[in-house]
Amino acid sequence: MTAAALDPITVTSDAREENPWARAWRRLKRRKGAMVGLVIVVLFVLLATFASLIAPYDPTATSWSAVRKPPTWAHWLGTDEVGRDVLSRVIFGARASLSAGLVSVGIAVGVGVPVGLLAGYAGGWIDSVISRMVDAMLAIPFLILAITLAAFLGPSLSNAMIAIGVTATPVFVRLTRGQTLAAKVEDYVEAARAVGNPRWRIALRHILPNIVSPLLVQASLAIAGAIIAEAALSFLGLGQQPPAPSWGSMLNSAQRFIAQAPWMAFWPGFAIFLAVLSFNLLGDGLRDALDPRHR
């Protein structure tokens, strides 16, 4: 054997693999829409977190001398039917909407991902039973199921979050199951099985990290859907209860005064639109950055 044949192969810095998350972030940064979405999301999070510092008035304080006043320097977005400051209520309303979006999607991910992983990895009768249950839940249109659940649980913001979370769960079960079915025949899973890893470890340590990307995309789009759903439930009187501020319940009362005080309807609706748009932009950008088929 010659010395040359035994020379070690040196790995140059060019051949080094870039961290997949760093690569995704680099790609995401290139997408203007996604970055605009991310900035608006961050602004909403800051508004919700520091609402009590930012809002000029107490969102529940009424003033009979300022009933349905149009926008002025004292009340930038006007006042409502009992003299409450619309700007302060929009700022505090971000809390209800964002927490509903995050908590309900958290419930959907927390239940849907493990169940989907179980269905996809275990297969057999477990998969059949779970898949049929998912089909049954998906057969009932999203909002109708959410309204029905919220009505049966009782009107409150926390019950609305549970109802939206439960309703959004089947989508995560189906997505995780599909991704798990595709991943479990990959070589790295075969290799993990060959070295004697237990099934739970293969599912959690080898499959789950490799299917996170589509779940992350779905989660950001689901938050947009959950914000609309919470606003819809609050609009119907099944979510946040008065006098606590919520964009949906603000629209409900604004509807009655649309001819006299259109500003009451414009701003909370615009806030919902902006929040949903930002999560949609972020979700679209994440999909492009994380899914090779969309590049």
């Binding site: 089909d135 049954a136 009932i140 909002l143 609309i228 606003a231 001819a259 309807a265 949903v276």
Partner: protein, 313 residues
């Protein structure tokens, strides 16, 4: 085809049974004694016992489910406590109203979404494409109840062109019927138009890069003919299938739209029943909606197989 149809029918049966169990199970979420809820103000133990007997509330839950299903299969969806009429007759009365609204919304969505998708794909990376994509983002992000309120403000309050609420049956006076439903139909169709635009754009882009389109161009055909006759016809297959599925979503969207425009349809029935704790109606309406949705899924699958010869087997 017959084998495929039989297989699909056999697949939807367990789904339908599970849907019925889910809807029946919802009643169990109710806190307290259902007999007390049904009795309303009445607290006489004799009356409560009669209600329990009448609705078999003393029986075990599987037995209650069996009797409920037996009724459903014979067309008896129960009775509305509030309206004192059968749920089946309420559904038969309200469903056509929502179907008219959904059909108009679908036409509006097709009229806007498909041309926008075609233009966006054909003029890719131009101002047209960006404009169409912005329209799609607007449609997907706008809550339909907000859009409804804004349209009432513009077209009813400010301009006075259209009525803000109410409904006239198509058979009674078609002009008045169109005037009362055009705004809600637009509100309902807006988001669907955005979804359709995105699907059409994606399907058209795929079709435009196919070999048969290149061949058509190589033959010297006009670009308009290549786009409309060759690319569009092939791109429409998945879009039409998705339309059938989205029709079910329109039923869901109708809940809020009917509430805003005070249209006495299926959506308003479910909301009114929810607030009046008329649970038999809620269960009946949800069951009918799910059955319509599953049937549309089946029809979409059949349509897909019919238009795609490779799937016929």
């Amino acid at each position: 085809m017959l084998t495929f149809l039989t297989q699909r029918l056999l697949q939807i049966l367990p789904t339908l049974v599970l849907v019925s169990m889910l809807i029946f199970g919802l009643q169990q979420l109710l806190p307290g004694d259902p007999a007390l809820i049904m009795a309303g103000e009445e607290r006489d133990p004799k009356v409560l016992e009669e209600i329990r007997e009448q609705y078999r509330l003393n029986e075990p839950i599987p037995v209650q489910y069996f009797y409920w299903m037996k009724g459903v299969l014979t067309g008896n969806l129960g009775e509305s406590m509030r309206l004192k009429s059968s749920v089946a007759s309420l559904v038969a009365e309200k469903l056509p109203v929502t179907l008219q609204l959904a059909a108009m919304a679908l036409l509006i969505a097709i009229g806007i979404g498909i041309p926008a998708g075609i233009v966006s794909a054909v003029k890719k990376d131009t101002a047209w494409d960006y404009g169409a994509n912005l329209f799609a983002l607007w449609g997907l992000s706008t809550p339909n109840f907000w859009l409804g309120i804004l349209m009432i403000f513009l077209f009813s309050v400010t301009l006075g062109w259209l009525p803000a609420s109410g409904y006239v049956r198509l058979g009674e006076n078609w002009q008045a019927s169109l005037a009362t439903t055009i705004m809600p139909a637009f509100v309902l169709g807006n988001a669907l138009a955005a979804v359709l635009m995105r699907h059409t754009r994606s399907a058209m882009l795929q079709a435009m890069s196919a070999d048969y389109v290149r061949t058509a161009r190589a033959k010297g055909l006009y670009e308009g003919r290549v786009v409309l006759k060759h690319a569009l016809r092939n791109a429409m297959t998945p879009v039409i299938t998705l339309l059938a599925l989205d029709f079910g979503t329109l039923l869901s969207g109708a809940v809020l739209t009917e509430q805003i425009f005070t249209i006495p349809g299926f959506g308003k029935l479910i909301v009114d029943s929810v607030f009046n704790r008329d649970y038999a109606v809620v269960q009946g309406v949800v069951l009918v909606t799910a059955t319509v949705y599953i049937s549309l899924n089946l029809l979409a699958d059949i349509a897909y197989v019919l238009v795609n010869p490779r799937l016929r087997g």
